[in-house]
Amino acid sequence: MLNPQLHLNPKLFDADVEQKPIRDGYGDGIVLAGDSDKNVVALCADLMESTRSEAFAKKFPERFFEIGVAEQNMATIAAGLGVSGKIPFIASYATFSPGRNYEQIRTTIAYNDSNVKIAGHHAGISVGPDGATHQATEDIAIMRVMPNMKVFVPCDSIEAKKATLAAAKIWGPVYLRFAREKSPVITTEATPFMPGKAQIFWQSKKPQVVIIACGVLVYNALLAARELEKEKIGTVVLNSPSIKPLDEKTILGLVSKYPAVVTVEEHQIHGGLGGAVAELFAKRHPVPMEFVGLKDTFGESGSPKELIEKYGMGVKDIKNAVIRTLKRTYEV
Protein backbone atom coordinates (compact mmCIF):
# COMPACT_ATOMS: atom_id res chain seq x y z
CA MET A 1 0.00 0.00 0.00
CA LEU A 2 0.97 3.64 -0.41
CA ASN A 3 2.89 5.09 2.51
CA PRO A 4 0.24 6.97 4.51
CA GLN A 5 2.82 9.14 6.27
CA LEU A 6 3.97 10.89 3.10
CA HIS A 7 0.63 12.44 2.12
CA LEU A 8 0.86 11.15 -1.44
CA ASN A 9 -1.84 11.99 -3.97
CA PRO A 10 -4.94 10.04 -2.83
CA LYS A 11 -6.18 9.85 -6.43
CA LEU A 12 -2.88 8.39 -7.60
CA PHE A 13 -4.34 5.23 -9.09
CA ASP A 14 -7.53 6.80 -10.44
CA ALA A 15 -8.05 7.09 -14.17
CA ASP A 16 -8.38 10.87 -13.84
CA VAL A 17 -5.22 11.38 -11.77
CA GLU A 18 -3.89 14.91 -12.22
CA GLN A 19 -1.22 15.08 -14.92
CA LYS A 20 1.37 17.82 -15.12
CA PRO A 21 4.79 18.11 -16.80
CA ILE A 22 7.63 17.71 -14.30
CA ARG A 23 9.35 20.73 -15.90
CA ASP A 24 6.48 22.95 -14.65
CA GLY A 25 7.88 22.47 -11.19
CA TYR A 26 11.14 24.05 -12.29
CA GLY A 27 9.27 27.14 -13.50
CA ASP A 28 7.36 27.42 -10.22
CA GLY A 29 10.47 26.69 -8.19
CA ILE A 30 12.74 29.36 -9.69
CA VAL A 31 10.06 32.03 -9.21
CA LEU A 32 9.73 31.08 -5.54
CA ALA A 33 13.52 30.96 -5.17
CA GLY A 34 13.71 34.38 -6.84
CA ASP A 35 11.13 35.74 -4.41
CA SER A 36 13.04 34.57 -1.38
CA ASP A 37 16.54 35.55 -2.54
CA LYS A 38 17.41 38.51 -4.73
CA ASN A 39 20.67 36.85 -5.71
CA VAL A 40 18.84 34.15 -7.67
CA VAL A 41 19.25 34.76 -11.41
CA ALA A 42 18.14 32.66 -14.39
CA LEU A 43 19.75 32.08 -17.76
CA CYS A 44 18.31 30.40 -20.79
CA ALA A 45 19.58 29.39 -24.22
CA ASP A 46 16.68 30.25 -26.54
CA LEU A 47 14.26 27.84 -24.86
CA MET A 48 12.39 30.12 -22.49
CA GLU A 49 8.96 28.58 -22.91
CA SER A 50 9.86 24.91 -23.05
CA THR A 51 12.24 25.13 -20.08
CA ARG A 52 9.56 27.04 -18.16
CA SER A 53 11.88 30.01 -17.60
CA GLU A 54 9.24 32.49 -18.81
CA ALA A 55 7.54 33.30 -15.53
CA PHE A 56 10.86 34.14 -13.89
CA ALA A 57 11.85 36.30 -16.87
CA LYS A 58 8.58 38.23 -16.63
CA LYS A 59 8.71 38.71 -12.90
CA PHE A 60 12.43 39.50 -12.62
CA PRO A 61 13.47 40.86 -16.04
CA GLU A 62 16.69 42.40 -14.69
CA ARG A 63 17.71 39.05 -13.24
CA PHE A 64 17.03 37.03 -16.37
CA PHE A 65 19.60 36.63 -19.13
CA GLU A 66 18.79 35.36 -22.59
CA ILE A 67 22.01 33.85 -23.88
CA GLY A 68 20.84 32.72 -27.32
CA VAL A 69 21.66 29.29 -28.72
CA ALA A 70 24.98 29.05 -26.89
CA GLU A 71 25.03 26.51 -24.09
CA GLN A 72 28.79 26.76 -23.52
CA ASN A 73 28.46 30.50 -23.04
CA MET A 74 25.48 30.00 -20.75
CA ALA A 75 27.43 27.67 -18.46
CA THR A 76 30.51 29.88 -18.32
CA ILE A 77 28.65 33.17 -17.83
CA ALA A 78 26.80 31.43 -15.00
CA ALA A 79 30.15 30.31 -13.59
CA GLY A 80 31.22 33.97 -13.41
CA LEU A 81 27.94 34.98 -11.76
CA GLY A 82 28.19 32.10 -9.32
CA VAL A 83 31.57 33.17 -7.96
CA SER A 84 30.31 36.76 -7.65
CA GLY A 85 27.57 36.21 -5.09
CA LYS A 86 24.77 35.19 -7.47
CA ILE A 87 22.82 31.93 -7.57
CA PRO A 88 22.40 31.25 -11.27
CA PHE A 89 20.02 28.66 -12.70
CA ILE A 90 20.82 27.66 -16.29
CA ALA A 91 18.21 25.92 -18.39
CA SER A 92 18.28 24.09 -21.67
CA TYR A 93 17.61 20.60 -22.98
CA ALA A 94 19.75 18.08 -21.18
CA THR A 95 21.29 16.86 -24.46
CA PHE A 96 22.78 20.36 -24.86
CA SER A 97 23.33 21.26 -21.21
CA PRO A 98 25.07 19.27 -19.70
CA GLY A 99 25.54 17.52 -23.07
CA ARG A 100 27.35 20.06 -25.21
CA ASN A 101 28.85 22.12 -22.39
CA TYR A 102 30.20 19.22 -20.31
CA GLU A 103 33.75 20.55 -20.11
CA GLN A 104 32.65 24.07 -19.24
CA ILE A 105 30.54 22.65 -16.40
CA ARG A 106 33.43 20.48 -15.26
CA THR A 107 36.11 23.18 -15.18
CA THR A 108 34.33 26.43 -14.50
CA ILE A 109 31.42 25.23 -12.34
CA ALA A 110 32.31 21.95 -10.59
CA TYR A 111 36.08 22.24 -10.15
CA ASN A 112 35.79 26.00 -9.71
CA ASP A 113 33.04 25.44 -7.11
CA SER A 114 30.77 28.07 -8.61
CA ASN A 115 27.28 28.20 -7.14
CA VAL A 116 25.48 27.23 -10.36
CA LYS A 117 22.32 25.13 -10.71
CA ILE A 118 22.01 23.26 -13.99
CA ALA A 119 18.51 22.39 -15.16
CA GLY A 120 18.50 19.65 -17.79
CA HIS A 121 15.10 19.65 -19.44
CA HIS A 122 13.48 17.21 -21.87
CA ALA A 123 15.54 14.46 -20.31
CA GLY A 124 14.85 10.82 -21.05
CA ILE A 125 13.30 9.03 -23.97
CA SER A 126 9.82 10.37 -23.15
CA VAL A 127 10.66 13.55 -25.08
CA GLY A 128 9.12 11.47 -27.83
CA PRO A 129 8.75 12.60 -31.45
CA ASP A 130 11.88 14.81 -31.48
CA GLY A 131 13.93 11.60 -31.61
CA ALA A 132 17.22 10.45 -30.14
CA THR A 133 19.12 13.72 -30.80
CA HIS A 134 16.92 15.36 -28.18
CA GLN A 135 16.56 12.46 -25.75
CA ALA A 136 19.17 12.76 -23.01
CA THR A 137 19.82 9.29 -21.63
CA GLU A 138 23.38 9.70 -20.38
CA ASP A 139 23.09 12.92 -18.37
CA ILE A 140 22.71 11.38 -14.91
CA ALA A 141 25.89 9.39 -15.50
CA ILE A 142 27.99 12.31 -16.73
CA MET A 143 26.83 14.59 -13.93
CA ARG A 144 27.03 11.96 -11.21
CA VAL A 145 30.65 11.14 -11.98
CA MET A 146 31.66 14.79 -11.60
CA PRO A 147 33.26 15.69 -8.27
CA ASN A 148 31.49 18.43 -6.33
CA MET A 149 28.20 17.94 -8.21
CA LYS A 150 24.87 16.95 -6.68
CA VAL A 151 22.22 15.26 -8.81
CA PHE A 152 18.45 15.40 -8.25
CA VAL A 153 15.84 13.66 -10.42
CA PRO A 154 12.34 14.57 -9.21
CA CYS A 155 9.40 12.25 -9.87
CA ASP A 156 6.68 14.84 -10.48
CA SER A 157 6.06 18.57 -10.80
CA ILE A 158 5.59 19.16 -7.08
CA GLU A 159 8.78 17.35 -6.14
CA ALA A 160 10.50 19.26 -8.98
CA LYS A 161 9.43 22.55 -7.42
CA LYS A 162 10.79 21.48 -4.03
CA ALA A 163 14.03 20.20 -5.53
CA THR A 164 14.52 23.50 -7.39
CA LEU A 165 13.95 25.48 -4.20
CA ALA A 166 16.29 23.19 -2.28
CA ALA A 167 18.98 23.60 -4.96
CA ALA A 168 18.87 27.38 -4.51
CA LYS A 169 19.52 26.97 -0.81
CA ILE A 170 22.35 24.42 -1.07
CA TRP A 171 25.80 25.90 -1.68
CA GLY A 172 27.53 24.63 -4.80
CA PRO A 173 26.82 23.00 -8.14
CA VAL A 174 23.60 21.02 -8.52
CA TYR A 175 22.20 19.17 -11.53
CA LEU A 176 18.40 18.99 -11.78
CA ARG A 177 16.80 16.66 -14.32
CA PHE A 178 13.31 17.22 -15.69
CA ALA A 179 11.07 15.34 -18.12
CA ARG A 180 8.96 17.06 -20.76
CA GLU A 181 5.64 15.22 -20.94
CA LYS A 182 2.66 15.46 -18.66
CA SER A 183 2.91 12.78 -16.01
CA PRO A 184 0.86 11.83 -12.93
CA VAL A 185 1.31 14.03 -9.90
CA ILE A 186 2.43 11.55 -7.25
CA THR A 187 3.21 13.75 -4.27
CA THR A 188 1.37 16.64 -2.66
CA GLU A 189 2.49 19.93 -1.17
CA ALA A 190 2.49 18.16 2.21
CA THR A 191 4.94 15.46 1.11
CA PRO A 192 8.33 16.20 2.67
CA PHE A 193 11.38 16.61 0.42
CA MET A 194 14.89 16.50 1.75
CA PRO A 195 17.98 16.58 -0.46
CA GLY A 196 19.89 13.34 -0.01
CA LYS A 197 16.87 11.40 1.24
CA ALA A 198 14.92 8.58 -0.41
CA GLN A 199 11.36 7.77 0.57
CA ILE A 200 9.31 4.59 0.68
CA PHE A 201 6.29 5.37 -1.48
CA TRP A 202 4.85 1.86 -1.42
CA GLN A 203 5.25 -1.13 0.84
CA SER A 204 3.44 -4.48 0.58
CA LYS A 205 2.63 -6.45 3.71
CA LYS A 206 5.28 -9.03 2.93
CA PRO A 207 7.90 -7.39 0.74
CA GLN A 208 10.42 -9.57 -1.10
CA VAL A 209 11.91 -7.13 -3.60
CA VAL A 210 12.95 -3.48 -3.38
CA ILE A 211 12.24 -1.35 -6.44
CA ILE A 212 14.36 1.81 -6.44
CA ALA A 213 13.16 4.38 -8.95
CA CYS A 214 13.61 8.02 -9.90
CA GLY A 215 11.96 10.53 -12.19
CA VAL A 216 8.92 9.98 -14.30
CA LEU A 217 9.16 6.17 -14.08
CA VAL A 218 8.40 6.17 -10.35
CA TYR A 219 4.77 6.05 -11.46
CA ASN A 220 5.31 2.91 -13.55
CA ALA A 221 7.13 1.37 -10.60
CA LEU A 222 4.10 2.04 -8.38
CA LEU A 223 1.73 0.56 -10.98
CA ALA A 224 3.96 -2.52 -11.22
CA ALA A 225 4.04 -2.88 -7.42
CA ARG A 226 0.27 -2.68 -7.26
CA GLU A 227 -0.20 -5.39 -9.89
CA LEU A 228 2.49 -7.58 -8.33
CA GLU A 229 0.75 -7.43 -4.99
CA LYS A 230 -2.38 -8.83 -6.59
CA GLU A 231 -0.15 -11.63 -7.88
CA LYS A 232 1.16 -12.26 -4.34
CA ILE A 233 4.55 -10.74 -4.89
CA GLY A 234 5.38 -8.14 -2.28
CA THR A 235 7.59 -5.13 -3.00
CA VAL A 236 8.85 -1.88 -1.59
CA VAL A 237 8.98 1.09 -3.98
CA LEU A 238 11.63 3.56 -2.96
CA ASN A 239 11.58 6.98 -4.61
CA SER A 240 15.20 8.13 -4.83
CA PRO A 241 15.23 11.66 -6.27
CA SER A 242 18.68 12.26 -4.88
CA ILE A 243 21.10 10.26 -7.03
CA LYS A 244 24.03 12.08 -5.52
CA PRO A 245 24.29 12.04 -2.62
CA LEU A 246 22.55 8.68 -2.58
CA ASP A 247 20.55 7.81 0.52
CA GLU A 248 22.78 4.87 1.36
CA LYS A 249 21.38 4.38 4.84
CA THR A 250 17.79 3.92 3.73
CA ILE A 251 18.76 1.69 0.79
CA LEU A 252 21.05 -0.56 2.85
CA GLY A 253 18.43 -0.75 5.59
CA LEU A 254 15.88 -2.06 3.10
CA VAL A 255 18.11 -4.59 1.32
CA SER A 256 19.27 -6.04 4.60
CA LYS A 257 15.65 -7.12 5.05
CA TYR A 258 14.62 -7.71 1.42
CA PRO A 259 17.75 -8.76 -0.50
CA ALA A 260 16.56 -8.42 -4.11
CA VAL A 261 16.58 -5.14 -6.02
CA VAL A 262 15.33 -3.61 -9.25
CA THR A 263 16.35 -0.10 -10.28
CA VAL A 264 14.11 1.88 -12.62
CA GLU A 265 15.11 5.01 -14.51
CA GLU A 266 14.55 6.69 -17.85
CA HIS A 267 18.27 6.62 -18.57
CA GLN A 268 20.95 4.21 -19.74
CA ILE A 269 21.26 1.28 -17.37
CA HIS A 270 24.94 2.17 -17.05
CA GLY A 271 26.13 4.92 -14.79
CA GLY A 272 22.82 6.33 -13.59
CA LEU A 273 20.69 5.44 -10.58
CA GLY A 274 21.28 1.73 -11.25
CA GLY A 275 25.00 2.28 -11.43
CA ALA A 276 25.03 4.26 -8.18
CA VAL A 277 23.02 1.58 -6.38
CA ALA A 278 25.15 -1.25 -7.80
CA GLU A 279 28.34 0.49 -6.63
CA LEU A 280 26.88 0.75 -3.16
CA PHE A 281 25.90 -2.93 -3.08
CA ALA A 282 29.22 -4.13 -4.45
CA LYS A 283 30.94 -2.29 -1.62
CA ARG A 284 28.55 -2.91 1.26
CA HIS A 285 25.94 -5.57 0.64
CA PRO A 286 25.90 -7.56 -2.62
CA VAL A 287 22.40 -8.71 -3.63
CA PRO A 288 20.83 -9.90 -6.90
CA MET A 289 19.85 -6.87 -8.90
CA GLU A 290 18.11 -6.08 -12.19
CA PHE A 291 18.26 -2.83 -14.13
CA VAL A 292 15.32 -1.25 -15.93
CA GLY A 293 16.40 1.49 -18.34
CA LEU A 294 17.87 1.89 -21.81
CA LYS A 295 20.15 -0.99 -22.63
CA ASP A 296 23.11 0.68 -24.27
CA THR A 297 21.04 2.01 -27.13
CA PHE A 298 19.76 5.33 -28.45
CA GLY A 299 16.06 6.05 -28.71
CA GLU A 300 14.04 7.15 -31.76
CA SER A 301 10.91 9.09 -32.66
CA GLY A 302 7.57 7.95 -31.33
CA SER A 303 5.02 8.80 -28.67
CA PRO A 304 6.37 8.77 -25.11
CA LYS A 305 4.24 5.78 -24.16
CA GLU A 306 5.27 3.79 -27.24
CA LEU A 307 8.92 4.51 -26.59
CA ILE A 308 8.77 3.57 -22.92
CA GLU A 309 7.22 0.24 -23.94
CA LYS A 310 9.52 -0.45 -26.88
CA TYR A 311 12.67 0.27 -24.88
CA GLY A 312 11.72 -1.94 -21.97
CA MET A 313 10.67 0.53 -19.27
CA GLY A 314 6.95 -0.23 -19.12
CA VAL A 315 4.99 -1.65 -16.20
CA LYS A 316 5.30 -5.16 -17.65
CA ASP A 317 9.08 -4.80 -17.93
CA ILE A 318 9.39 -3.70 -14.30
CA LYS A 319 7.25 -6.65 -13.20
CA ASN A 320 9.40 -9.05 -15.19
CA ALA A 321 12.55 -7.60 -13.68
CA VAL A 322 11.11 -8.08 -10.19
CA ILE A 323 10.33 -11.71 -10.97
CA ARG A 324 13.81 -12.29 -12.41
CA THR A 325 15.60 -10.87 -9.38
CA LEU A 326 13.29 -12.80 -7.08
CA LYS A 327 14.20 -16.07 -8.82
CA ARG A 328 17.87 -15.23 -8.59
CA THR A 329 17.57 -14.50 -4.89
CA TYR A 330 16.06 -17.88 -4.16
CA GLU A 331 18.63 -19.62 -6.35
CA VAL A 332 21.35 -17.92 -4.34
Binding site: G68, N73, T76, A78, A79, G80, V83, K86, N112
Partner: protein, 297 residues
Protein backbone atom coordinates in the same frame (compact mmCIF):
# COMPACT_ATOMS: atom_id res chain seq x y z
CA UNK B 1 40.40 51.32 -10.98
CA UNK B 2 38.39 54.45 -11.71
CA UNK B 3 40.08 57.60 -12.95
CA UNK B 4 43.45 56.03 -13.49
CA UNK B 5 46.56 58.16 -13.34
CA UNK B 6 49.21 57.93 -16.06
CA UNK B 7 52.55 56.34 -15.15
CA UNK B 8 55.15 59.00 -14.33
CA UNK B 9 58.76 58.64 -15.47
CA UNK B 10 60.34 57.34 -12.28
CA UNK B 11 57.53 54.88 -11.80
CA UNK B 12 57.85 53.59 -15.36
CA UNK B 13 61.51 52.78 -14.84
CA UNK B 14 60.67 50.93 -11.65
CA UNK B 15 57.88 48.94 -13.32
CA UNK B 16 60.06 47.99 -16.27
CA UNK B 17 62.73 46.68 -13.94
CA UNK B 18 60.10 44.81 -12.00
CA UNK B 19 58.76 43.23 -15.21
CA UNK B 20 62.26 42.04 -15.94
CA UNK B 21 62.60 40.56 -12.47
CA UNK B 22 59.29 38.79 -13.02
CA UNK B 23 60.71 37.31 -16.22
CA UNK B 24 63.74 36.04 -14.32
CA UNK B 25 61.53 34.37 -11.75
CA UNK B 26 59.41 32.83 -14.50
CA UNK B 27 62.52 31.23 -16.00
CA UNK B 28 63.72 30.04 -12.59
CA UNK B 29 60.41 28.48 -11.66
CA UNK B 30 59.97 26.76 -15.00
CA UNK B 31 63.43 25.23 -14.67
CA UNK B 32 62.57 24.05 -11.19
CA UNK B 33 59.21 22.64 -12.29
CA UNK B 34 60.60 20.83 -15.31
CA UNK B 35 57.44 21.43 -17.31
CA UNK B 36 55.22 24.35 -18.26
CA UNK B 37 54.97 27.14 -20.80
CA UNK B 38 57.75 29.66 -21.47
CA UNK B 39 56.89 31.98 -24.34
CA UNK B 40 53.51 33.31 -23.20
CA UNK B 41 54.51 34.18 -19.62
CA UNK B 42 57.62 36.05 -20.79
CA UNK B 43 55.62 37.89 -23.43
CA UNK B 44 52.96 38.99 -20.93
CA UNK B 45 55.25 40.12 -18.09
CA UNK B 46 54.85 43.82 -18.89
CA UNK B 47 51.07 43.59 -19.03
CA UNK B 48 50.83 41.67 -15.74
CA UNK B 49 53.15 44.17 -14.08
CA UNK B 50 51.07 47.11 -15.27
CA UNK B 51 47.86 45.48 -14.09
CA UNK B 52 48.93 44.46 -10.61
CA UNK B 53 51.14 47.47 -9.88
CA UNK B 54 49.19 50.26 -11.51
CA UNK B 55 45.81 49.42 -13.01
CA UNK B 56 43.96 47.08 -10.65
CA UNK B 57 42.32 48.20 -7.47
CA UNK B 58 43.15 45.27 -5.21
CA UNK B 59 44.50 44.39 -1.80
CA UNK B 60 46.80 41.37 -1.40
CA UNK B 61 45.98 41.36 2.31
CA UNK B 62 42.27 41.03 1.52
CA UNK B 63 42.07 38.88 -1.60
CA UNK B 64 38.29 38.47 -1.31
CA UNK B 65 37.62 42.20 -0.82
CA UNK B 66 34.22 42.72 -2.47
CA UNK B 67 35.20 45.92 -4.29
CA UNK B 68 38.37 44.57 -5.86
CA UNK B 69 38.72 44.72 -9.62
CA UNK B 70 38.57 41.26 -11.15
CA UNK B 71 41.30 40.01 -13.45
CA UNK B 72 40.32 36.80 -15.20
CA UNK B 73 43.16 34.91 -16.85
CA UNK B 74 41.46 32.98 -19.63
CA UNK B 75 44.51 31.23 -21.08
CA UNK B 76 45.49 29.60 -17.82
CA UNK B 77 48.62 27.98 -19.21
CA UNK B 78 50.56 31.24 -18.86
CA UNK B 79 49.99 31.11 -15.10
CA UNK B 80 53.72 31.21 -14.18
CA UNK B 81 53.65 34.95 -14.91
CA UNK B 82 50.45 35.31 -12.87
CA UNK B 83 51.98 33.46 -9.91
CA UNK B 84 55.21 35.48 -9.97
CA UNK B 85 53.29 38.75 -10.25
CA UNK B 86 50.97 37.79 -7.38
CA UNK B 87 53.99 36.88 -5.25
CA UNK B 88 55.71 40.20 -5.97
CA UNK B 89 52.43 41.97 -5.23
CA UNK B 90 52.40 40.34 -1.80
CA UNK B 91 49.77 37.59 -2.07
CA UNK B 92 52.27 34.98 -0.94
CA UNK B 93 55.99 34.52 -0.40
CA UNK B 94 58.34 34.38 -3.38
CA UNK B 95 59.80 31.18 -1.94
CA UNK B 96 56.56 29.34 -2.76
CA UNK B 97 57.19 29.85 -6.48
CA UNK B 98 59.55 26.88 -6.34
CA UNK B 99 56.60 24.58 -5.72
CA UNK B 100 55.02 25.14 -9.14
CA UNK B 101 53.45 21.92 -10.48
CA UNK B 102 54.69 19.84 -7.54
CA UNK B 103 52.59 17.61 -5.28
CA UNK B 104 50.55 19.48 -2.66
CA UNK B 105 51.34 22.86 -4.19
CA UNK B 106 48.95 25.79 -4.28
CA UNK B 107 50.54 26.67 -7.62
CA UNK B 108 48.75 24.18 -9.83
CA UNK B 109 49.91 23.57 -13.41
CA UNK B 110 46.88 25.57 -14.47
CA UNK B 111 45.41 28.08 -12.01
CA UNK B 112 42.73 26.93 -9.61
CA UNK B 113 40.53 29.42 -7.78
CA UNK B 114 40.21 27.39 -4.62
CA UNK B 115 43.94 26.68 -4.36
CA UNK B 116 45.44 30.15 -4.15
CA UNK B 117 44.26 33.59 -3.01
CA UNK B 118 44.18 36.09 -5.85
CA UNK B 119 42.98 33.63 -8.48
CA UNK B 120 39.57 34.79 -9.70
CA UNK B 121 38.68 31.66 -11.62
CA UNK B 122 39.95 28.22 -12.52
CA UNK B 123 41.22 28.16 -16.10
CA UNK B 124 43.21 26.16 -18.58
CA UNK B 125 40.72 24.76 -21.07
CA UNK B 126 40.66 27.61 -23.58
CA UNK B 127 37.94 29.98 -24.68
CA UNK B 128 35.94 30.11 -21.44
CA UNK B 129 37.45 33.08 -19.62
CA UNK B 130 35.69 35.90 -21.40
CA UNK B 131 32.24 34.52 -20.60
CA UNK B 132 33.18 34.08 -16.94
CA UNK B 133 34.36 37.68 -16.92
CA UNK B 134 30.97 38.62 -18.41
CA UNK B 135 29.26 36.77 -15.56
CA UNK B 136 31.29 38.77 -13.03
CA UNK B 137 30.52 42.00 -14.87
CA UNK B 138 26.79 41.17 -14.92
CA UNK B 139 26.92 40.53 -11.18
CA UNK B 140 28.59 43.93 -10.71
CA UNK B 141 25.86 45.57 -12.75
CA UNK B 142 23.11 43.91 -10.74
CA UNK B 143 24.74 44.83 -7.45
CA UNK B 144 25.37 48.43 -8.38
CA UNK B 145 21.77 49.02 -9.44
CA UNK B 146 19.85 46.82 -7.04
CA UNK B 147 21.89 46.48 -3.91
CA UNK B 148 21.68 48.76 -0.95
CA UNK B 149 24.79 47.39 0.67
CA UNK B 150 27.77 49.61 0.07
CA UNK B 151 30.76 48.57 -1.90
CA UNK B 152 29.09 45.91 -4.00
CA UNK B 153 29.32 46.13 -7.74
CA UNK B 154 31.88 48.91 -7.73
CA UNK B 155 34.49 46.99 -9.62
CA UNK B 156 35.67 46.59 -13.19
CA UNK B 157 36.39 43.28 -14.82
CA UNK B 158 39.40 42.58 -17.01
CA UNK B 159 39.93 39.45 -19.04
CA UNK B 160 43.30 38.45 -20.44
CA UNK B 161 43.02 36.14 -23.43
CA UNK B 162 45.42 34.55 -25.86
CA UNK B 163 45.14 34.88 -29.61
CA UNK B 164 45.15 31.10 -30.11
CA UNK B 165 42.06 30.66 -27.97
CA UNK B 166 40.15 32.82 -30.41
CA UNK B 167 39.77 29.58 -32.34
CA UNK B 168 37.35 28.36 -29.66
CA UNK B 169 33.62 28.74 -30.32
CA UNK B 170 32.89 29.54 -26.69
CA UNK B 171 34.99 32.71 -26.95
CA UNK B 172 32.98 34.08 -29.87
CA UNK B 173 29.72 33.27 -28.11
CA UNK B 174 31.00 35.51 -25.33
CA UNK B 175 32.11 38.22 -27.77
CA UNK B 176 28.62 38.22 -29.27
CA UNK B 177 26.92 38.47 -25.86
CA UNK B 178 29.15 41.26 -24.55
CA UNK B 179 28.64 43.32 -27.71
CA UNK B 180 24.89 42.94 -27.61
CA UNK B 181 24.70 43.75 -23.91
CA UNK B 182 27.12 46.71 -24.05
CA UNK B 183 29.28 45.35 -21.25
CA UNK B 184 31.09 48.61 -20.59
CA UNK B 185 32.44 47.48 -17.22
CA UNK B 186 34.40 44.76 -18.98
CA UNK B 187 37.70 45.15 -20.83
CA UNK B 188 39.42 42.33 -22.65
CA UNK B 189 43.09 42.17 -23.54
CA UNK B 190 44.27 39.88 -26.32
CA UNK B 191 47.85 38.66 -26.14
CA UNK B 192 48.48 38.90 -29.88
CA UNK B 193 51.78 37.04 -30.02
CA UNK B 194 50.97 35.09 -33.19
CA UNK B 195 52.02 31.69 -31.89
CA UNK B 196 50.29 28.59 -30.58
CA UNK B 197 51.46 25.04 -29.89
CA UNK B 198 51.35 23.78 -33.47
CA UNK B 199 52.78 26.87 -35.13
CA UNK B 200 51.99 30.44 -36.10
CA UNK B 201 48.33 31.31 -35.59
CA UNK B 202 47.93 32.53 -39.14
CA UNK B 203 49.07 29.12 -40.41
CA UNK B 204 47.18 26.97 -37.91
CA UNK B 205 43.90 28.89 -38.22
CA UNK B 206 44.01 32.52 -39.31
CA UNK B 207 42.50 35.12 -36.98
CA UNK B 208 42.96 38.24 -39.06
CA UNK B 209 41.45 40.65 -39.31
CA UNK B 210 40.94 40.39 -35.58
CA UNK B 211 40.12 44.07 -35.21
CA UNK B 212 37.40 43.94 -37.86
CA UNK B 213 35.94 40.82 -36.31
CA UNK B 214 35.53 42.49 -32.91
CA UNK B 215 34.17 45.65 -34.47
CA UNK B 216 31.58 43.61 -36.32
CA UNK B 217 30.38 42.36 -32.93
CA UNK B 218 29.99 45.92 -31.62
CA UNK B 219 33.19 46.16 -29.60
CA UNK B 220 35.47 49.15 -29.27
CA UNK B 221 38.92 48.01 -30.42
CA UNK B 222 42.27 49.50 -29.43
CA UNK B 223 45.68 48.23 -30.54
CA UNK B 224 48.83 48.70 -28.53
CA UNK B 225 52.43 47.62 -28.19
CA UNK B 226 52.03 45.05 -25.42
CA UNK B 227 55.45 45.89 -24.00
CA UNK B 228 54.64 49.57 -23.54
CA UNK B 229 52.98 49.95 -20.16
CA UNK B 230 52.04 53.56 -20.79
CA UNK B 231 50.19 52.51 -23.94
CA UNK B 232 48.30 49.92 -21.94
CA UNK B 233 47.34 52.34 -19.18
CA UNK B 234 46.15 54.89 -21.74
CA UNK B 235 44.08 52.23 -23.48
CA UNK B 236 42.56 51.06 -20.18
CA UNK B 237 41.65 54.68 -19.35
CA UNK B 238 40.05 55.12 -22.74
CA UNK B 239 38.10 51.88 -22.31
CA UNK B 240 36.70 53.17 -19.01
CA UNK B 241 35.41 56.27 -20.73
CA UNK B 242 33.44 54.35 -23.34
CA UNK B 243 29.89 53.62 -22.21
CA UNK B 244 28.28 52.16 -25.30
CA UNK B 245 30.54 49.17 -25.87
CA UNK B 246 32.92 46.77 -24.27
CA UNK B 247 36.54 47.40 -25.22
CA UNK B 248 39.12 44.94 -26.40
CA UNK B 249 42.77 45.90 -26.37
CA UNK B 250 44.76 43.94 -28.91
CA UNK B 251 48.22 43.89 -27.37
CA UNK B 252 50.94 43.01 -29.83
CA UNK B 253 53.55 41.11 -27.88
CA UNK B 254 56.71 39.17 -28.59
CA UNK B 255 56.46 35.61 -27.31
CA UNK B 256 59.48 34.75 -25.19
CA UNK B 257 60.27 38.48 -24.79
CA UNK B 258 63.65 39.17 -23.25
CA UNK B 259 65.23 35.84 -24.14
CA UNK B 260 66.64 36.04 -27.65
CA UNK B 261 66.48 32.36 -28.50
CA UNK B 262 62.88 32.07 -27.35
CA UNK B 263 61.53 35.21 -28.97
CA UNK B 264 58.99 34.62 -31.75
CA UNK B 265 59.69 30.88 -31.85
CA UNK B 266 56.50 28.86 -31.43
CA UNK B 267 58.50 25.84 -30.27
CA UNK B 268 58.82 27.66 -26.93
CA UNK B 269 55.07 27.90 -26.47
CA UNK B 270 54.69 24.83 -24.32
CA UNK B 271 58.08 23.79 -22.98
CA UNK B 272 60.36 24.87 -20.14
CA UNK B 273 64.06 25.65 -20.48
CA UNK B 274 66.63 23.04 -19.47
CA UNK B 275 69.45 23.97 -17.11
CA UNK B 276 71.73 25.36 -19.78
CA UNK B 277 68.98 27.24 -21.56
CA UNK B 278 67.80 28.71 -18.28
CA UNK B 279 71.30 29.89 -17.46
CA UNK B 280 71.55 31.58 -20.84
CA UNK B 281 68.10 33.07 -20.49
CA UNK B 282 68.80 34.45 -17.01
CA UNK B 283 72.07 35.92 -18.18
CA UNK B 284 70.29 37.75 -20.98
CA UNK B 285 67.59 39.00 -18.66
CA UNK B 286 70.02 40.13 -15.97
CA UNK B 287 72.16 42.02 -18.45
CA UNK B 288 69.16 43.34 -20.33
CA UNK B 289 70.24 41.61 -23.51
CA UNK B 290 73.89 42.36 -22.78
CA UNK B 291 73.19 46.10 -22.93
CA UNK B 292 74.37 46.42 -19.35
CA UNK B 293 77.06 44.65 -17.39
CA UNK B 294 76.22 42.97 -14.18
CA UNK B 295 77.81 40.66 -11.69
CA UNK B 296 76.77 37.87 -14.03
CA UNK B 297 78.79 39.20 -16.93
Amino acid sequence: MWGMKPIHDGRLEYLEELANKIREKVVEMLLEAGSGHSAGPLGMADIFTAFYFHILSHDPKKPMWAERDRLVLSNGHICPVLYVTLAYAGYFHLEELKTLRKLNTRLQGHPHRLALPGIETTSGPLGSGLSQAIGMALAARLDSTHSTSSGQGKYRVYCLTSDGEHQEGNHWEAVMFAGKNKMNNLTAVVDRNNIQIDGFTENVMPLESLKAKYEAFNWNVLEIDGHNMRDLVDAISEAEAIYEKPTVIIAHTIPGKGVSFMERDYKWHGKPPNKEEAKKALHELRTLGRRIKSEHE
